[in-house]
């Protein structure tokens, strides 16, 4: 399976302009903002070693616990930076202006984070969850040797894709063997799956794909992403883990098929939905106008066409935790609850 775009994802970075929150500035003049490139696949607390020295002189005495906010919204550190950016900046803002805090951790909104260890813990937990979805067991992750665990985590932190691929291939989490991609792209490269055909067949059968959806529903319409209202609370965003059941059924499985299987409510009348049999066509037609529509679907900063093979999307655009993180803006025509 070709993974040519994976390299770009791993090299992807968001330029950040990080401001120290006013309430924590004790010096005059206040420190200038820090400019820093943050890897898409990285996590915010991992920037602490670079940001702390930059701001330390301005900080009041006390214990440091780093957290970030964007326009007043505390950022969840366990969501990869690239996903936060895709989700919260409808119209990409570069550099992305974030505010950093070292005091007053909002524990009622954010899970506590004990530095790099906490992020590592969260990453491995996520990897374990992905392994469970794919294999029905987290054993491969849990049984990793200690040096492999360390090496895997380091490769994610430092963006070393070669090392990552080498170690993660031992987990046998190669998700999709899609015969149609081979036909579309007649490259002789078969990847690691060919090493063990039984393994590949088994993976093909298992075919549950770890997907995290970040879903934002808006009531008012907007044509331009610049006009999209911004978030002020996480309550506006639904965060869902729904594994995608990968089916081929004679044709290749597209991104659209995957979205349909996760959110059948967006596609009334589709054969994938569960309770269409009782509806007559006229009714479906009438209801269509009142159905929610996707305004934006963004993965790793791009808006892929819905017709492309889902296997390509997963293999190239997934995060190192084996989850495909999808940001979705959905417009609901009527106010919620009516």
């Amino acid at each position: 399976m070709e993974k040519e775009a994976q390299q770009f994802v791993w090299e992807g970075a968001i330029p950040l302009q990080v401001h120290l929150h006013d309430s924590e500035v004790t010096t005059l003049p206040p420190p200038s903002p820090a400019l820093i490139l943050a890897p898409r696949i990285g996590y915010l607390p991992l920037l602490c070693p670079q940001l702390k020295p930059f701001f330390s002189e301005a900080l009041p005495p006390g214990v440091d616990t780093i957290w970030f906010e964007y326009k007043g919204l505390p950022l969840k550190w366990y969501i990869p930076i690239g996903v936060l950016f895709d989700l919260l900046c409808a119209e990409p803002e570069r550099p992305w202006n974030l505010t950093v805090h070292f005091r007053g951790y909002p524990g009622h909104i954010l899970i506590p984070c004990d530095g790099e260890d906490g992020v590592k813990w969260s990453y491995i937990n996520s990897l374990k969850e992905a392994a469970y979805i794919i294999h029905g067991s987290s054993k491969n992750v849990m049984n990793m040797s200690h040096p492999d665990q360390v090496e895997l985590w380091r490769s994610v932190m430092s963006g070393k894709l070669d090392t990552y691929n080498l170690i993660s291939s031992k987990l046998k989490l190669g998700i999709i063997g899609d015969e149609f991609s081979g036909k579309l792209n007649p490259s002789p490269l078969k990847g690691q799956h060919s090493a063990n055909d039984t393994e590949a067949t088994a993976a093909l059968k298992a075919s549950r794909i770890p997907v995290r959806l970040y879903l934002w529903t808006v009531n008012e319409d907007f044509d331009d992403l610049e006009e999209a209202p911004h978030f002020d609370s996480w309550d506006q965003i639904s965060y869902i883990n729904r594994p995608v059941e990968f089916k081929t059924e004679g044709k290749y499985f597209t991104l659209l098929d995957a979205v349909k299987s996760i959110l059948p409510e967006l596609y009334p009348g589709s054969s994938n939905t569960m309770n269409t049999e009782s509806k007559n066509e006229q009714k479906v037609e009438a209801e269509k106008e009142s159905y929610p529509v996707i305004k934006l679907l963004r993965i790793q900063g791009i808006e892929p066409k819905m017709e492309i093979p889902f296997s390509w999307v997963v293999n190239n655009l997934m995060n190192p935790d084996y989850f495909l993180h999808i940001c979705l803006y959905i417009k609901v025509p009527k106010p919620i609850g009516t």
């Binding site: 506590p112 590592k120 937990n125 059948p264 409510e265 929610p292």
Partner: protein, 266 residues
């Protein structure tokens, strides 16, 4: 240590056949032997599953809804002096109606645990399991803590997950240390040896806030054991699922299901 299962809570498991159809699991916290709830490594009883493993220990989200209703009904019937479990419907949480499935979770609020009774409680021998909730009462004394429990379905692990929120009488949330202190003495002893495990803080999937939870990664394995050997119809099995599951996780908080509830499931 690097890994997720940094340490284990130790249990003794004793499977006790009550009659032909009912298997009562009595799990006790003890210092000496070999099972972890957090990421369960069940070595034992493999003989029992090898021939009858018709269920893989997991359930679907619609099964969960069904099991949740059955659980809430039985609970109400046999624990009428205890707060009720209510199904919180979240079908509309995406801003549009969920499709074909009832999205939501099971919730019980304001469960009071009197801390002073914890000391006397200690271990549960297999004989006194018929007196449920001797330490979880509804009295309104000050020397205790309040708990909200949510049973949430995890579509990744395809099992129920227990989320909980603990607070003192004045509404202040308890931190992890305070929660551990309010657990049974034996749990506390084990937790002392294995800091920061077993209970973790994660984002509540419906509330978008940090809640405490018992990690679900081993659940399907021990549920497979619990449900093994039972010749039930699928429907019965689903009804029984949450009851069996809660008979294990409830014990972390000293809550034991009444005997009738376990029996009536058959």
């Amino acid at each position: 240590m690097f890994f997720v299962c940094r340490s284990f809570i130790i249990f003794n498991i004793e499977l006790k056949i009550i009659n032909r159809e009912t298997t009562l699991l009595d799990i006790r916290y003890r210092g000496g032997s070999s099972i972890s709830l957090h990421c369960l490594q069940l070595h034992l009883l493999s003989r029992m599953i090898s021939n009858t493993a018709t269920c893989d220990g997991s359930l679907t989200s619609s099964d969960f809804h069904m099991a949740a209703n059955a659980f809430a009904d039985k609970w109400k019937k046999f624990n009428s002096d205890f707060p009720e479990w209510l199904w919180i419907d979240c079908s509309n949480r995406l801003g549009f109606a969920a499709h074909g499935v009832s999205d939501g979770y099971l919730s019980v609020q304001k469960v009071f645990f009197q801390t002073s009774l914890k000391e006397e409680h200690g271990e549960c021998s297999s004989n006194d399991c018929e007196e449920p909730f001797d330490d979880a009462t509804l009295s309104s004394g000050d020397d205790g803590h309040w708990y909200d429990f949510h049973l949430v379905y995890s579509s990744s692990y395809r099992v129920p997950v227990l989320y909980f929120h603990a607070y003192s009488s004045d509404g202040q949330p308890l931190n992890k240390d305070e929660i551990e202190k309010s657990l049974s003495t034996e749990s506390v002893n084990v937790l002392k040896e294995s800091k920061w495990t077993f209970i973790t803080q994660e984002e509540h999937p419906y509330l978008n806030r940090p809640w405490y939870t018992l990690h679900p990664c081993g659940t399907s394995e021990w549920m497979k054991l619990l449900l093994a050997g039972e010749n039930r119809t699928t429907e019965n099995r689903m009804e029984q699922y949450l009851i069996s599951w809660f008979s294990v996780v409830g014990q972390v908080f000293g809550m034991r299901l009444p005997h009738e509830m376990l029996k009536s499931a058959c």
